[in-house]
């Protein structure tokens, strides 16, 4: 399925959207760009660490609320559109810890109404009640050991989740290389899932190594093949994050709305599709990011075997 068709079919105004990836790895940028091009708005974004994928959607004015553990880009700094929107009172944030968000997805994926956790007890994460939330949590004594209390958190089941992975077959059997973040729980908890992947592989590849399948097709609504679909974040095993472009993004985002609008126009709105965007990044740079991920030390060892 094309990314534009997948987004048109499964992402609607006002939806709660599960955000995959984390920080500088496997953010579903191709799908996010398409959501911006289609102008789907009033979104609630949910996840653990929401980074550049959330920030670009916030910067495009499409997000009303985030339910998450963090918004930042670690070494690359804060998520500036997010920060500005919160400080202006334009974006509501319902704060959790990462373990707490995982507990909510875990309840969702198992068809349970809530899940106990030890996280957040005693902290102001419990005091913070966003508008419209009737009951964020319940403190409950363990019925078998009344001195031992836990916090109950309601299940989180996104209307749609968007994730970028390494490989998937046409039916939606998902292979994720490397760290999994909160994605297995979030994907299985979601009512619909758009998976973009580096490679669509034949079903036979999945069936010959079924132990490698992280998510079977029953949970997946749309499969989109988009090489470099996480750029400027990395896809483990395929290409490194693009530090030059992330710095440029951060520079434009930190300057304010006007400069960020220029970024959006140049790279997203004026791009017909994600391949058009990748052409602006350039083949030379993309190949370089692939080489870096493979751990190839470019200059030093070139030809050293022949000239000894």
């Amino acid at each position: 399925m094309s990314v534009s068709e997948a987004v048109r079919r499964f992402v609607k105004n006002g939806m709660t959207v599960g955000i995959g990836g984390q920080n500088i790895n496997r953010c579903a940028m191709a799908v996010s760009h398409e959501i911006i091009r289609q102008g789907i708005r009033d979104l609630t974004l949910v996840g653990c660490n929401l980074s550049i994928q959330m920030d670009i959607l916030v910067g495009a004015g499409l997000v009303k609320k985030c339910i998450c553990g963090t918004g930042n880009l670690e070494r690359f700094g804060s998520t500036y559109n997010f920060r500005r929107a919160v400080e202006r009172g334009e974006l509501e944030v319902d704060d959790y810890s990462h373990n707490a968000m995982v507990a909510r997805f875990l309840a969702g994926e198992m068809g349970l109404p809530f899940m106990p956790t030890r996280s957040m007890m005693g902290s102001d994460l419990l005091k913070q009640h966003p508008s419209g939330a009737d009951m964020k949590w319940v403190n409950m004594a363990n019925p078998w050991d009344p001195g031992d209390n836990v916090i109950l958190l309601p299940a989180m089941s996104p209307d749609v989740s968007i994730v970028h992975v390494q490989r998937c077959d046409p039916c939606g059997n998902v292979v994720i290389d490397g760290i999994l973040n909160h994605e297995p729980e979030m994907i299985r908890a979601s009512r619909a899932v758009i998976v973009s992947c580096e490679e669509v592989v034949p079903e036979e590849v999945i069936r010959s190594h079924p132990e490698r399948t992280v998510i079977p097709f029953h949970f997946v609504s749309a499969v989109v093949e988009q090489p470099f679909g996480a750029h400027p974040t990395a896809t483990y095993g395929y290409y490194e994050y693009d530090d030059v472009h992330i710095r440029y993004y951060q520079d434009m985002a930190s300057r304010g709305d006007e400069d960020f609008a220029k970024y959006l126009k140049e790279y997203v709105l004026d791009s017909a599709d994600f391949v058009d965007y990748l052409e602006k990044i350039g083949l030379r740079r993309l190949l370089e990011l692939s080489r870096i991920m493979r751990g190839v030390d470019d200059e030093k060892r070139t030809g050293s075997g022949l000239h000894r």
């Binding site: 070494r75 400080e87 996280s119 991920m293």
Partner: protein, 269 residues
């Protein structure tokens, strides 16, 4: 040739950050399971593993279990932090099945504000309903502060960073005092909390629930620490001086752990 006596060669050639890292690493024991993020905590953990704690094991919130880090990861999702792990798992495996389960010996946390009870704010400056500054948020910090027996904080020493009371408790220290954690229902009621800065080391007094000034960095005074601290830590008894690093320790940091000076800025001038 004459046999030389093995005396560690202490050096004055070190930066504040280098000594902070070396001092923090001293709290990591050889048999510890440590949960780390990036930045100075990761540098300290790697340094401990490279020197006195070779059997110490790391986990990272995004899923890596016991990786052998490549210099120098800049994110918890960097391939360099996943290098040669025994497993690349999920947030749930690390944060729920290992951390919440109670398997982790020590965790690192950072924050914009830390108060006298060891409470940490990484969420909001000002009132959360209309904040002056929105900070990143908890991430795994609340989970680490909740579930670890030992918590290490490495941070710059600034008055505004150490207020009497944080604007928002993202991660619980002793909350409002000695009994705070028990009253709130936290299972770990009296964790060790250690704060390492370029001026001093403070440790929570587990009989009071407040920070006590434990050690001074070389060439700092109690007055200087108090002048730069918004709360007044407990001060009594002996205050040790943090040992200067050895030449070998500095060599390891500069050539093996952070050769490009990504987190440990090079000395200028």
């Amino acid at each position: 040739m004459m046999k030389r006596e093995q005396v560690p060669a202490y050096t004055d050639d070190f930066t504040e950050e280098e000594l902070m890292v070396i001092e923090a690493a001293r709290y990591i024991k050889n048999d510890y399971l440590v949960i780390v993020g990036t930045g100075l905590p990761m540098i300290a953990s790697q340094f401990a593993q490279r020197t006195h704690a070779p059997m110490a094991s790391f986990i990272v919130e995004s899923g890596p279990v016991d990786p052998q880090l490549l210099p120098v990861p800049i994110s918890v999702t960097d391939r360099k932090i996943a290098n040669r792990a025994v497993r690349l798992g999920s947030t749930r495996e690390v944060m729920s099945c290992m951390l919440q389960r109670g398997l982790v010996d020590l965790g690192f946390i950072g924050g914009a504000q830390i108060d006298i009870f060891g409470n940490i704010n990484s969420s909001y400056i000002g009132d959360w309903r209309g904040p002056r500054v929105r900070l990143p948020g908890s991430g795994g910090a609340n989970d680490i502060a909740t579930n670890c027996q030992r918590i290490l904080i490495i941070t710059r020493h600034e008055k505004r960073r150490f207020p009497e009371k944080v604007d928002f408790i993202t991660s619980p220290g002793y909350l409002d005092g000695l009994d705070g954690r028990r009253k709130a229902g936290l299972k770990v009621t009296k964790p060790d909390i250690t704060l390492v800065t370029e001026l001093a080391v403070m440790e929570i007094d587990k009989n009071v629930g407040k920070f006590r000034l434990a050690k001074l960095m070389p060439q700092t005074t109690v007055e200087e620490v108090l002048h730069n601290t918004g709360f007044r830590p407990l001060i009594d008894g002996d205050i040790d001086e943090v040992k200067k690093p050895t030449l070998e320790q500095i060599r390891i940091l500069r050539t093996e752990i952070d050769p490009e000076g990504i987190y440990l800025k090079k000395r200028t001038g």
